[in-house]
Amino acid sequence: MKRRINVWSNIDWLTVVLYLFLVFLGWINIYSAVYNEEHQSIFDFSQRYGKQMIWIVAAFVIAILITIIDSNFYSFFAYFLHFVILFLLVVVTLFGTEIHGSRAWLEFGNVRFQPAEFAKITTALALARYLSSHNVSMNRLKTYLWLGAIILVPMAIILLQNDAGSALVFVAFVLVLYRQGLPLGVLLFGVYVVALFILALILEKLFVIFGTVALALIVLWVLNKRFRYVWVAAVIMLASGGLFYGAKQLFDLNIPIYFMILGALVFSSIFYIILSYWYKVPRVMILLLLLFGSIGLTYSVDHVFNNFLETHQQKRINQLLGLESDPLGAGYNVNQSKIAIGSGRLTGKGFLNGTQTKFDFVPEQSTDFIFCTIGEEWGFVGSLVLISLFIMLLLRLLFLAERQRSIFSRIYGYGLISVLLFHFAINIGMTIGLVPVIGIPLPFISYGGSSLWAFTIMLFIFLRLDVSRLKVLR
């Protein structure tokens, strides 16, 4: 008995209160989003707010159960749980129910269950378990292979379920790795690749190639602090460029400009390799590899974009990048979402008075686009309150994570923060047109049992670990 009392007095009540606030806010906005005159009773279980009420009560029960369970349970069973979920993911991919084009749901009678939501928890657990083991170093390739296996396997299966949004969430775990000492270079490289991908979509390929060449020269200078290497390289490049151009004009060759530049680049690179070998200029090979890798990526962007992305995903990205404008097509959702939020003005239209969300102008107004209801009915003030609550929660969790003595607990805490932050950033970002439309819920707020339960479980496991922080020294 003594231990249970300990749990309740040591649990971080501030986090619990923030959690309750968010869940409550979520429920009243779901009520408002699906409210209509015929169904006014809050206990009408045919309506979404009625169902959500059940999910919430169940979530509270789950939270209590989790808090009662011994804290060692989670690290001990971390791998096991992860395997169970991976197994369920495979099952669901093969036999699941398809909803909105994603085969991501298991159905038991009336209850639907989305294993992908829970894969985040077990991935965080498994990640914490692995990174907290003794012989892990962030400087070894083996480590990355294991990490890749833990994170990328569920991600890949979920991608196969055609649920790109949920799959993308696993990218968030990079933040955990960063906290655990992922070299900055690796992170920067990742950012570089993403930036290159986007730039290659927006800009003319030629500019991107010139840009990467310029970047390579700058990096060469930064790494070696010798300006001479840079201008020699530049002169060689310009000279071979002129040579190729002259040849083209002289022999009246009909070569596309891309190939000409590429040819000049290859030619000057070979020349420079020989030269650098001769003068012992360091790190040239790596840099050239990077350069040609970048150029290769630039050219493959179109291929990836056209062949690996679905048409609606392409459209959403084009829309966001301003390459395509179709306010009634792919941009419809975002446009309507912005209209709903924007029409809320400073103080909003008032509870139940939103017209845009209520009359279905905003799609998915109780799930992915629940923020529109808040923005429309509560205005900028409501937005400010909601965002503040999330930021307080995230910073509080950051504080809690950092005070853990157990590496497992801390890493798990960061896993939780990463996933929450990702959901928060992408979900609200998409409703106000800052990121492409990726269908992921707003934690604790959006309608849906799987999502609410998963976030509740994930949060309360961490709170449970936090209660025991003084006990464990690992």
Binding site: L175, Y178, R179, G181, L184, L328, Q336, K338, I339, A340, I341, G342, S343, G344, R345, L346, T355, Q356, K358, F359, D360, F361, G375, E376, G379, F380, S383, L384, I387, S388, F390, I391, L394, L395, L398, E402, Y414, I417, L421, F424, A425, I428, G429, I432, L434
Partner: protein, 618 residues
């Protein structure tokens, strides 16, 4: 790498969290507080203003008989975004349309807008609508918008009643009332009384959801405006008489205009050939209109108001009245007539009649010679220093009778007549280089004269009134208003003394009711027990057989009806126009025809066919 410790990394993560929050709040501040673009967009999203079309005013005849009313019709609308696969064969069968029409219209609708409804099929009947309504659930994306169309009790009086059609783009641009797709009166009373008949459009403001489904009234109807029903009109038309006139004019080209002299109310306005006003309603309107437009007999041409004819001998009464008023003619003035008027080489023929004749007899027998002399006297009147002055004075008299300029009746498309001016002859002959002999054909209503049937009927009305007329009008009463426009209640005086009218009327009486063998020219217009006063006319027509003309009023002492009858290529006035006028008078005053033979005589004549045959012989 001292800068890259775990503590720094924790702080960077905290910084990222805060940065995201700041970015969101800035963006939200921009769209929620700074920008004011979104509120109107939200409003236009959910607010639908649905125009409420009032029922158009009804039109009755002078006896209260309903002539024009409204009938429900339905526009089939389509909203492309809600379309789903459907049984096109069944759909086409129900609406009785071709598949190609379906495909074409769907393509047009999608091209117009994927999200806004557009008209798929206009004005289908209630029966079709009922058939479709049962199956409507099978055709998502289609819905029905109620409308009203005009319905006509009779297939007559199209030129008077007019028709209603979709408003032109020009009218939409130049007025604030009409919106594209509205209906508006295009001709006849529908046009001239449009503002009375149309009522006032209302609007209902609804909240709609994304599927355009109405979710309720906006602000409890605070911004709704009720439609006001159009005002009913009581026309001055006597529909029985009108229909009888159209029956008499069948297979003839021409016009009958009948006026009640004491009020100026138009009793009937027949233009032949006419058309069934029901043809210009609903979906077949455009097709039928094109057909009518192509018809060489020009059924759309309102001859009663738009055709200009020379008045022929009917004009002699005008010259008699002017001559009397100017003091150049007396009842006792006599002229001998030996087959016409001779002046040097000039000769104007006359038909065989007793001679000599005085003024009254000259009207009775319609002597050309007599009026050549009267006209000579008017033109050479010593009161005027030149023929120009005398001519201008003569013309002023004519204008006082409503000839020349438009009468400004309350029907659209009326045109003015043509009266030659002094300038006209000065240009033609040279200034002061012409004399009465150059224009003497005006004496007998030939030459450069153009008078519309309504002007002719009005002139007859002025004679019947012994000196004044009221501007002819087609509206007797506007429901809810005490009186019609003042301009229809103000008499116009002709400036000729009423005593002179009595003399002329005496001649007109004799022309109709004179003894057999006395040379009376209009005995075919006689009606038992009613004194009809009339004057025949025969207008030379350069394009074919003469036009048959007759003006008359009756009864002589208490005129109830004054009318002008024009029958193109009908020959002598007495042949067709006079019996037609007689039948009209009898019908109006007695309600029935005494001698059926006359009616059969007129209705049995097919002058159109005869004209075609004559032309073939030529």
């Amino acid at each position: 790498m001292a800068l890259d410790t775990y503590a720094v990394r924790r702080n960077i993560i905290a910084f990222i969290i805060l940065l995201i929050a700041v970015i969101f709040l800035v963006k939200l501040f921009m769209i929620q507080v700074v920008s004011s673009d979104y509120t109107p967009k939200a409003t236009s999203n959910v607010i639908r203003r649905i125009t409420q079309y009032p029922a158009r005013g009804l039109i009755y005849d002078r006896d209260g008989e309903l002539l024009v009313y409204n009938q429900a019709a339905y526009d089939i609308m389509v909203n492309p975004q809600h379309l789903e696969a459907f049984d096109t064969t069944e759909f086409c069968r129900i609406l009785n349309i071709e598949r190609s029409y379906l495909n074409k219209k769907l393509k047009e609708a999608k091209a117009y807008s994927r999200y806004k409804p557009s008209i798929f099929l206009k004005l289908v009947s209630s029966e079709t609508y009922a058939r479709l309504q049962e199956k409507m659930y099978k055709f998502p994306g289609f819905f029905v918008q109620p409308r009203t169309v005009r319905k006509y009790q009779y297939a007559d009086a199209a030129h008077v009643l007019g028709y209603v059609g979709e408003v032109s783009d020009k009218l939409v641009d130049t007025t604030s009332y009409y919106k594209s797709g509205d209906y508006v009166g295009i001709s006849g009373m529908e046009k001239s009384y449009e503002s009375v008949l149309r009522g006032k459009k209302g609007v209902k403001v609804y909240l709609v959801d994304v599927h355009n489904r109405i979710k309720g009234s906006y602000s409890n109807g605070r911004y709704d405006k009720k439609a006001e029903v159009g005002t009913n009109l009581i026309s001055s038309l006597d529909m029985d008489l009108q229909r009888y006139g159209e029956k008499l004019m069948k297979n003839k080209i021409g016009s009958i205009v009948a006026i009640e002299p004491s009020s100026g109310e138009i009793l009937s306005l027949v233009s032949s050939p006419g058309y069934d006003p029901g043809l210009l309603v609903g979906r077949q309107r455009t097709k039928n209109y094109r057909k009518l437009q192509k018809d060489t007999l020009e059924p759309l041409f309102n001859r009663g108001l738009m055709a200009r004819y020379p008045p022929g001998s009917t004009f002699k009464v005008m010259n008699a009245l002017i001559g009397r008023q100017e003091g150049v003619l007396y009842p006792g003035t006599t002229y001998e007539c030996h087959g016409g008027f001779y002046a040097g080489n000039f000769h104007m023929g006359c038909h065989n009649h007793p001679s000599p004749v005085d003024m009254i007899e000259s009207i009775q027998v319609s002597c050309n010679n007599y009026y050549a002399h009267v006209f000579k006297r008017i033109m050479q009147d010593s009161d005027y220093e030149s023929i120009s002055k005398a001519f201008t004075n003569w013309k002023d008299h004519l204008q006082n009778f409503g000839l020349g300029d438009k009468l400004n009746i309350d029907l659209p498309s009326e045109v003015g007549g043509f009266l030659p001016s002094v300038d006209y002859y000065n240009r033609y002959y040279g200034e002061n280089r012409w004399r009465y002999l150059n224009v003497v054909s005006l004496a007998i209503g030939q030459g450069e004269l153009g008078i519309t049937p309504v002007q002719m009927a009005n002139l007859t009305s002025a004679i019947a009134n012994r000196g004044h007329y009221y501007t002819p009008h087609i509206v007797k009463r506007i429901e809810g208003e005490k009186q019609i426009d003042e301009r229809f209640r103000t008499p116009h005086h002709t400036g000729v003394d009423s005593a002179y009218f009595e003399e002329v009327i005496e001649g007109m009486d004799l022309a109709v009711n004179g003894q057999a063998g006395s040379g009376s020219t209009a005995r075919t217009a006689r009606v038992d027990s009613i004194t009809v006063c009339g004057k025949t006319g025969t207008a030379e027509n350069p394009h074919g057989k003469d036009h048959s003309i007759f003006i008359a009023f009756a009864p002589k002492d208490d005129p109830q009806i004054a009318l002008a009858v024009y029958i193109e290529n009908g020959g002598y006035g007495a042949t067709w126009a006079a019996p037609t006028a007689k039948l009209m008078i009898e019908k109006y005053l007695k309600g029935s025809i005494d001698v059926q033979w006359w009616e059969d005589y007129v209705t049995g004549a097919n002058l159109i066919k005869q004209k075609e045959e004559d032309e073939e012989e030529d």
